[in-house]
Amino acid sequence: MERPFAITLDVGSSRANHTGSWRVERPVYVDRLPPCNDACPAGENIQRWLYHAESGDYENAWRTLVEDNPLPAIMGRVCFHPCETACNRAQVDEAVGINAVERFLGDTALAHGWSLPAPGPATGQKVLVVGAGPAGLSAAYHLRRRGHAVRLVDSAPRLGGMLRYGIPAYRLPRDVLDAEIARIVDMGVEVGLHETVTDIAAAREAAGADAVFLAVGAQLGKRVAIPAGDSAKVIDAVSFLHQVADDDPPLLGRRVVVYGGGDTALDAARTAKRLGATDAVIVYRRNREKMPAHAEEVEQALGEGVTVRWLSTIERFEGERMVIEKMALNAEGFPEPTGEFEELDADALVLALGQDTDLSLLEGSDVAVADGVVQVVDSMMTDVPGIFAGGDAAPSNRTATVAVGHGKRAARGIDAYLAGRVDERPPRHALAEAGRLNTWYYADAPRTERPELERIRRQTNFEEVIGGLTEDNALFEARRCLSCGNCFECDNCFGVCPDNAIVKLGPGERYAVNYDFCKGCGICVAECPCGAIEMVPERI
């Protein structure tokens, strides 16, 4: 071959030089568990549905969401969103408004009439679900998707359980509740209302059920012995809210005292206010920091004119006079009586001191009960094969979202039980901690607040308090997601590699490392915004 003067070799490419041999560590792509997903009691893949919402593909986002939770419009209103508490963005500016986007997706689905996925092919097996609250509804949905026939029974005249009879309409409008329940029933769920199960074994037999899911909730308001005169009006909060939900509110008078510090106490006080009480006073034995109710609920109640007597217990209630005793927190943070008394004018007392679950239907069965709740293993199965339990009737922190998660887990467990399999959950990825993120790359963007109804308006009616997001700000909010721990294809690794050793595989396919040329410098790991790459030692 002819070569120019003094040239003895052909021009070669540096690609012949495999610089990958310099490497002592190699970058590998990983997936980590985002803290929102980790914290979601319903086991939603929040980051995944936000990913679809970010591109405006709300239907796909909703479809991903309902893989785990069939009640997004409801949960987008009543969930206390532990996902947002866990959100890493809180350490950048403010947490992503996941709950608001969930509600937006739920409402959009209802507006467009999107239907839930079709039931799976029939298995010929049947499950009796006792209790049509969030746990029962969730179980019914997931069981139908797996092709099992479902009979859903409830002693109330309507479906929904505590979603209907415990949560006031200003937090959960009834048309939303009805629409999401109807969508589940439309999957071919056999419904039995006004059916009180008194004997679990007999009910299983009568229904011809291969398995039972017990989700009877905690419907009994706890009582406490307070000396009260004959004329004193005392009612428990569960009954109170139930009667209001039935459009048959009790007459409580103008001055209503609510005893307790949980969310139910706030619901009762806010409801009393809406029914016309001039004074709605919560009496709580500890202080605000120790109050179990969620902070934003407290904030809203106070904004509506509900007042709270902190560090107080009720001594007695006679006629229109209530005597309360001041308390003081001791060194351990427990309230102790001080012997100091005060008087309070009151027409009625609502007791919101927690709820018990009515498990009389288990009498004569071998289902183990401890601390007033049914004992279950990981698959939600009780001691009796084929009988599962969940929601407030099982050990939990008693929120609607936990109940939805229980329903889903129980459906998995039941499905495995019916197929004679052992229910094994896939191992979880390591958590995507905030420290692994490179937050430089995220644009600054404060959270979009949902519009709140003018305070004055919500003191007199049951209109919904929290408004929804518009499409524009739902999109904005979804895009605030940092995609912690999972590649969202920002091209940073592809761009910052000085050796062109990252291969872009195309939309949705992410990237690969060309180890022939990767020198192991680690810039891709350092500059990955979401911490989805890590360096591992090279085997030498």
């Binding site: 690609r15 012949a16 610089t19 519009p451 910052v496 410098c521 350092a526 500059e527």
Partner: protein
């Protein structure tokens, strides 16, 4: 209901900072996010792990290739970039590329531009490139001449603040207090001296050439925009790119981009642009940091922090950063 909060429709999660974004239109994405980018410097080059110069040169030249529809000739001075890319008979260059001597790259670039003009090939554009040694020291005379004649060349300096390929000697771009092989950490003022060195972007501005800009490998969008803008112009243009050097700076190879970012966020390296001698824009600091945060990860400044440290020297460097912030108006926008 109260009014919903105002929305910003152009918020794209990482739109303005990361290399790419699936939500952006193709036109708004960086050249580097495109799998069909030129890759002007190919894989297999012998630059150190985490080399900022290899990265900066690819960023700049790929952007110039797109801006000129691939009609580009690059002229290279001697230096790391030349040595690591072309050990005979291999080459990493996927663009027409020419190397002559250490000190004459601007003159050679001028010659290439003149040759193209004579041949009637106005479509072919010329980029000259060198490290800081080839630019501020050895090639300074020919560069100044190129500026003065307003030759149609974009000259790019990849500034890693020293002669790195020959063993980390001081250049006129080495910062004060930095340790190099020729500025040892001895005596009352250890490391490189204060009050010397050349600020080449300002010297270039003093030539009143059409365009002068600075950039770093930490802000790709800014760098690509400046290259593109430069290629829209004719005449002498100068781009000064800060490219951290893990070897010479004694930093972790993974810290290259981070250090460039800290250099700008501390104010030590001002990112700005100027046309015909007048500053027309500066990139404001987004998350201001003290110079110490930039200095500490670099072993060339380790003597400022060992033992009792040299807070007095750090304070002098901080004063330089503060002066830059003042001079170019780099302070973060308080409105945000």
């Amino acid at each position: 209901m109260t009014e919903p909060t105002a929305t910003r429709v152009h918020f794209y999660q990482v739109g303005s900072f990361a290399v790419g974004n699936r939500l952006l239109s193709a036109d708004d994405r960086t050249v580097q996010s495109n799998p069909a980018r030129t890759n002007s410097i190919d894989s297999g080059h012998r630059a150190c792990q985490g080399c900022g110069e290899a990265l900066g040169a690819r960023y700049a030249l790929d952007a110039a290739m797109r801006a000129t529809n691939d009609r580009l000739v690059a002229v290279n001075a001697t230096g790391c970039l030349e040595v690591f890319s072309t050990p005979y008979p291999e080459t990493s260059w996927r663009i027409p590329w020419l190397h002559s001597l250490f000190g004459n790259a601007p003159a050679v670039a001028t010659g290439v531009a003149a040759a193209m003009r004579v041949k009637g090939r106005d479509d072919v554009r010329v980029v000259g490139q060198a490290g800081d040694g080839g630019t501020v020291d050895i090639g300074f005379g020919t560069l100044s001449g190129m500026f003065e004649r307003n030759d149609d060349v974009l000259f790019i300096c990849y500034d890693n603040e020293g002669y790195m390929n020959t063993g980390v000697q001081r250049s006129a771009a080495t910062p004060p207090a930095a340790r190099t092989a020729t500025t040892d950490v001895v005596g009352p003022e250890p490391g490189n001296v204060f009050g010397q060195g050349k600020d080449l972007p300002r010297i270039a501005m003093a030539h009143d050439i059409p365009y002068v800009a600075t950039a770093t490998v930490a802000d790709l969008h800014d760098l690509e925009r400046k290259v593109e803008h430069a290629m829209e112009m004719r005449g002498a243009r100068y781009l000064h790119v800060l490219v951290p050097c893990p070897l010479g700076w004694g930093s972790a190879s993974s810290d290259t981009v981070r250090l460039a970012r800290l250099a700008t966020e501390s104010g030590l390296f001002p990112v700005f642009e100027a046309e015909h001698g007048v500053v027309t824009g500066a990139r404001r600091i987004r998350r201001r940091v003290a110079v110490e945060e930039y200095l500490r990860p670099q072993r060339r400044f380790a003597h400022l922090f060992s033992g009792a440290g040299r807070p007095d020297v750090v304070a002098r460097l901080q004063a330089m950063a503060d002066a830059n912030i003042e001079r170019y108006g780099l302070a973060p926008d308080e409105g945000e």
